[in-house]
């Protein structure tokens, strides 16, 4: 009852409609609408044209295209992508595992620990590194990071070889070109993205909430664990998913630091063989026959669908966590 009565007395704000008037306006709104529709058209066009070229492979291999692990375009014509898909997922998961704690702690440092000036400098640095081209990261990964990381891998193997994921079939072969190193490179790539999403959400947190927790006797750690993390977890998960999308689509940098192999690697991170769909496309396309091109375009279709879905989910979560953006 009371709710109804307040609704009756409340003034209803009129919804102003702006309608195009005159030819100039009709053209203006027409052009912008067409441009907006182009986003749908672009996604559709990509789907259609990739499917047209991929169809021969998809028909010939069926569902085994995703599940099998043979790649013989010149002999039997069988092309199956499972090692690459699993490799992409493995590298992306490991990269996220490495990048997320670092990104969250960097965001925490920027927003809650450092003075404002130092925080904004750190923000600039992290944002600039988000813009470093992946070919440059590949160059760095191959000639600077691989020697260092293979040493880390060797140490890990030395002390933790009893854990299955750190086992290696042939330690003498060296620890280079493994999913471990590719995962670190991917972590360096996606860290800035996760950091900037998390930082944005941290900086928009309700300060009264934190001050209230302080007044109730909360310490820094309890506020972090019980106030900051729970209220911003949605946004952080969204940021991580955005990073996941990038990690799956990453091409050039992984291409240099990973030994691409159709011999599927289920989870031995330090083993010098692995897979990545995008890098596989790049590696094979140069000398590919028409038939193999079709297979590689089908591979492109697969990562397009995966990243599109991941990005939809990620953006939905991030948008919900950032209502001030709407």
């Amino acid at each position: 009852m009371s709710v109804n009565s307040t609704n009756d007395t409340k003034q209803v704000r009129r919804n102003l409609k702006i309608k195009p008037s005159g030819t100039g306006d009709v053209i203006f709104s027409g052009v912008t609408s067409v441009a907006a529709m182009f986003t749908f058209v672009l996604v559709l066009l990509i789907l259609i044209f990739l499917t047209i070229r991929a169809l021969p492979t998809l028909q010939a291999n069926g569902l085994n295209f995703l599940l099998g692990s043979t790649w013989e375009p010149d002999g039997s014509g069988v092309m199956q992508l499972a090692p690459m898909i699993w490799g992409s997922i493995l590298i992306a998961l490991f990269g996220i595992l490495v990048a997320t704690p670092m990104a969250v702690s960097t965001a925490y440092l920027i927003v809650f620990v450092l003075p404002r000036q130092a925080g904004s400098i750190l923000t600039s640095i992290v944002d600039l590194l988000a813009a470093i081209p992946s070919v440059v990261l590949g160059l760095w990964g191959l000639w600077v990071f691989t020697p260092i990381a293979s040493h880390w891998a060797e140490t890990l193997h030395k002390y933790f070889a009893w854990i299955p994921i750190f086992q290696v079939s042939n330690p003498e072969a060296g620890f280079q070109r493994s999913p471990f190193i590719a995962g670190w490179i991917v972590a360096v790539m996606i860290m800035p993205i996760i950091t900037s999403v998390t930082r944005e959400i941290f900086s928009q947190l309700d300060r009264d909430l934190i001050n209230g927790a302080l007044a109730l006797g909360g310490s820094k750690s309890s506020i972090f664990a019980r106030v900051i993390l729970p209220t911003s977890s949605g946004g952080i998960i969204g940021g991580v998913l955005l990073g996941l999308g990038r990690a799956i689509g990453e091409t050039v940098a992984i291409f240099y630091v990973l030994n691409l192999s159709t011999d599927i690697n289920w989870g031995q991170l330090l083993e010098p063989r692995g897979g990545a769909v995008a890098s596989w496309i790049l590696a094979r396309f140069g000398e590919a026959s028409t038939l193999e091109q079709s297979g590689l375009i089908a591979a492109g279709l697969v990562i397009f669908c995966i990243t599109l879905i991941v990005n939809f989910i990620a953006n939905a979560i991030v948008n919900r966590a950032q209502p001030w953006r709407r």
């Binding site: 702006i18 008037s21 306006d25 053209i27 203006f28 709104s29 912008t32 609408s33 441009a35 907006a36 529709m37 182009f38 986003t39 749908f40 066009l45 990509i46 044209f49 990739l50 047209i52 070229r53 670092m102 702690s105 960097t106 440092l109 620990v113 750190l122 640095i125 992290v126 600039l128 813009a131 470093i132 081209p133 992946s134 070919v135 440059v136 590949g138 160059l139 760095w140 600077v144 990071f145 040493h151 140490t155 002390y159 360096v188 860290m191 310490s219 750690s221 309890s222 972090f224 689509g249 091409t251 496309i281 790049l282 396309f285 492109g300 990562i303 990243t307 990005n311 939809f312 939905a316």
Partner: protein, 362 residues
């Protein structure tokens, strides 16, 4: 009474006794010394020294100091602080390692001739005194310029649709724009590649521009949307109330007000696509000479140049790759810095305006 004796009043929560400062100092010094000592003197591997000795010791010592001062909560706070600083330092070390190795290794190759000359008659072992990336810089500029010409009007139009129209499709359009901003670059290249037979397009510069277009468009649209949103709606309403049609209100009122924001969008979009490699590898055949015609024959580009020189055994070729990487990173940093400075100027302006209005009101 002694209780009322005049004593310098210190707020209890800011008081830091000298003994505690000493403890904090020791707590941060001892683990470092032990770790460095075990690394240099005992010859323990540096990764083990860092993760196996330094980190646990640092946590322990910080924990003891925290526990000493505040009890259990002090211990937890110390743990949080140590982990935060350790992880963020790792981030900084990794990221600055990228920057510094590009600068240090690229510096040798850089010279006036390296920036101006092209790569004709240069083999894998030719000394660095000959040849350069001039053709690649020009090629990159041309390819990206065509992409820009295509993406900027379309991106701004999408942004206008998202901010000015009242269509119900705004939500889906925004969702799709965000979703394609995560489009893997290799897919964009494959898309244009599978379009090429229908467009009767060879592996020329224009194909490369088309392949970069789906990557630049979403950045352009999203950042200009933010810029347009910053313009107060009252401005637009005022223009409309004065009888201006929508398009005049946009071109004469909103666009000038959002100018710096749109330029920022342009710069960020350029920074996004100028280093993209995979689409160019798939759609644009490389060229060692200078080619300025985007519709005829292959064209060089900076990322493609680096790509072809990365994985060679020849030291001079590697140095060429590092030099080109330095040029590319400098271009990206320049674009990025100008975008930042433009954004900052705008903030300053709004601040001063606010101050003035407050004075007037008073």
């Amino acid at each position: 009474m002694s209780a009322f004796s005049p004593r310098p009043v210190k707020q209890p929560w800011t008081a830091k006794s000298s003994t505690r400062s000493l403890k904090i100092f020791l707590a941060s010094l001892i683990p470092l010394l032990v770790a460095v000592g075990s690394w240099l003197i005992l010859g323990i591997d540096y990764t083990v020294a860092l993760v196996g000795i330094f980190l646990p010791l640092q946590i322990l010592s910080a924990g003891i100091v925290g526990f000493n001062a505040f009890g259990r909560r002090g211990f937890k706070d110390a743990l949080l602080l140590v982990l935060t600083i350790f992880l963020s330092t790792t981030v900084l070390v990794l990221l600055s390692s990228v920057l510094f190795s590009v600068i240090l290794k690229g510096w040798h190759a850089l010279s006036g001739q390296f920036i101006l000359e092209n790569n004709i008659y240069v083999s894998t072992t030719t000394s660095l005194d000959y040849g350069g990336v001039g053709h690649a810089i020009l090629g990159s500029l041309i390819v990206v310029a065509i992409t820009t010409v295509l993406a900027v009007p379309l991106g701004i139009s999408i942004a206008v649709f998202l901010t000015q129209s009242q269509s119900k499709l705004r939500g889906p359009v925004r969702t799709f724009t965000q979703a394609i901003s995560g489009l893997p670059s290799v897919v964009s290249g494959l898309f244009i590649l599978s379009l090429m037979p229908y467009l009767h397009l060879e592996h020329v510069g224009f194909a490369g521009s088309l392949a970069l277009f789906p990557l630049m468009l979403p950045t352009m649209a999203r950042v200009s949307e933010e810029a347009l949103r910053l313009v107060p709606n009252d401005l637009r309403m005022a223009a409309l109330a004065l009888g201006a049609p929508n398009y005049k209100a946009f071109f004469k009122v909103i666009l000038p007000a959002a100018k710096t924001g749109i330029i920022t969008a342009l710069l960020l979009g350029l920074a996004r696509v100028i280093g993209e490699t995979a689409p160019l590898v798939l759609t644009l055949s490389p060229n060692n000479g200078t080619n300025l015609n985007p519709f005829y024959e292959g064209m060089a580009s900076l990322p493609r140049y680096i790509y072809s020189f990365v994985n060679t055994k020849y030291p001079t070729s590697q140095e060429r790759a590092w030099g080109a990487a330095l040029v590319l990173v400098m271009v990206v940093a320049l674009l990025f810095a100008s975008a930042r400075i433009l954004g900052r100027k705008k903030k300053l302006k709004t601040k001063t305006v606010k101050k003035n209005t407050i004075k007037k009101d008073a």
